[in-house]
Symmetry: C2
């Protein structure tokens, strides 16, 4: 049904190999300009498109990249995925997307299926601080981590400056007069959870504020998972403000506060992290640290593409982007 190199060759009256050379940008200089022109025209008129399975088989490269995320329905990821997709496809690569649901067995299976599909590389958003699988797969395949990293830092990554982001949040609250601030922290197995918690300690200390026993880690990143930790945080003596490790946890904290009869921001200020879509429309509009999700994705794709191009193994590169504070209605001056 679809035209092949042979068909084009027949039309032009030359050998298929020459057609291949003429059509491939990296080899077309080996062919006389006139033949190239004739071939291009014939290919056009037959609307020939190269068969990626044939060339992939021959070259042992699929021009395909696996994208491993926890869950597409978490609003943090669609923007990141778009950044990845747009950049990859402009370079002729096709992303293959999988969702692990934060389950390590599922992840192992899915990474297996991506390797079975012969992906040329991997962009991974599911890293844990300890993550043997990634180290192992990284031996065989170029990998770029996004958002979260592994402890060893042996894999290239694109992240944001958590230190800076949390710092912005704490500074903002302190500026509003708060000093009794708690942290509803992310899961400790996640580098983002861990680093934000550490950053919280540091930021508090730098203001001369006590952060001891003021950090309350959750088990998962969801609105529901926040409840217990949020209640503990709110029970801590005199707490007037909470820095949550992401937007879902902030929303959960606000819900828990409401449940206790506290109103946000009147009685308690809450600040989130990520600035997911619609966070300007929730009640109250959420003050949060905005992460440039689409840029993270684009940057990760670029980094992977450079890895895919380079023959020589380059030094492991870590890209850090800078988040910014978005002030809305969930934070207010201490009364």
């Amino acid at each position: 049904m679809s035209a092949t190199l042979k068909d084009v060759a027949r039309v032009v009256g030359i050998h298929p190999a020459t057609v291949s050379r003429a059509l491939n940008p990296r080899t077309s200089h080996l062919v006389s300009p006139e033949t190239v022109a004739k071939v291009r025209k014939a290919a056009e008129s037959l609307d020939y498109v190269p068969n990626p399975m044939a060339s992939g088989l021959r070259t042992a490269r699929s021009r395909t990249v696996g994208v491993v995320i926890p869950d597409l329905t978490n609003p943090l990821f669609p923007g990141m995925v778009r950044g990845i997709q747009d950049t990859l496809s402009r370079a002729g690569y096709t992303p293959l997307l999988v969702n692990t649901d934060n389950d390590m067995d599922t992840e192992a299976t899915l990474v297996g299926s991506l390797r079975a599909r012969r992906v040329d590389g991997l962009i991974v958003a599911t890293a844990r601080r300890e993550h043997p699988l990634l180290a192992e797969v990284g031996e065989a395949l170029p990998i770029v981590l996004v958002n979260r990293v592994t402890e060893s830092a042996a894999l290239p990554s694109v992240t944001t400056d958590e230190q800076h982001g949390i710092r912005l949040a704490v500074d903002h609250l302190v500026g509003l007069g708060h000093s009794d601030i708690a942290h509803v922290a992310g899961p400790t197995w996640s580098s983002t959870g861990h680093e934000r918690a550490q950053a919280f300690q540091r930021a508090m200390r730098s203001h001369g504020l006590t952060s001891a026993r003021r950090s309350f880690p959750v088990l998962g990143w969801s609105v529901e998972a926040a409840r217990d930790s949020a209640l503990k945080a709110l029970a801590a003596a005199k707490v007037t403000a909470v820095v949550a490790a992401n937007d879902q946890l902030a929303l959960g904290t606000i819900a828990a506060a409401r449940h206790k009869g506290l109103r946000c921001p009147r009685d308690i200020s809450v600040i989130g992290y990520n600035d997911m879509p619609f966070m300007d429309l929730v009640d109250p509009p959420l003050t949060t640290v905005r992460v440039p999700v689409s840029d993270i994705g684009a940057e990760a794709a670029r980094l992977l593409l450079s890895l895919l191009r380079d023959e020589a193994p380059s030094p492991v590169k870590h890209v850090r982007l800078t988040p910014e504070l978005i002030v809305r209605g969930s934070t207010a001056a201490l009364r």
Copy 2:
């Protein structure tokens, strides 16, 4: 690097073709049980995985499906995509996702690239009422439409019962005592926009209410796009309630109302459509018609898989799922 049929054959001491037969469920019955067992063991120990490019080249099937959506960052779609992904991958198919941004040229390009990748079929969420491209591509490739359909109805589809959904919305408002109800309608090029508008007329008439000049179509589906139409709707005589054609338009309507000094639901009731994530947390929590997005995706994938399996062209099938009303805080009894 990766083991091939030949490697397995060498280990077992038989011909590669036999290994192929033994490993393929559809042909393994042609091989003696003992050989099958030996082959399986050898394949396992070498961790052989079939090369999809080689088998795809040979069989002219990629076991790959193109998924065409307007924009992944629109919260309506991630759930749908998950439904598609989960169902397809369980059947051994890999989805290739593209975003058209509702631009027809982009769409043509991307569909072209999917065909270049030799996808076996297409799941399309970008249908317009008039959509020549899809009709054309549908000649060559199995296509299933999701959410939106084309006017001719010549392509199989999975949608929800718009008629029923809008009916639920209008009934709810009438039940609350409203009779002056307006519709902030979706774009007319979209079947969902069109059908919901028609359904609105019908539902109003069935209650004996006037719907004349009460429908105000927008140009796009976004929160911002709603502004003008919403202002017109709110300016219409005595309007006390608005049925919006989706959640974004509902949010835009609420914002416009607020801008005019009207409060929702006190002065004006607003009802959305889709029930996107977090619509329970916006201000006010949005009453809306919930669409089973994940089921739509799963159903579409199933339908396409059946098309992919069948040799004989089956009659064009249309699956309709039923939406349900979710009552929250954006609607209230007429005062």
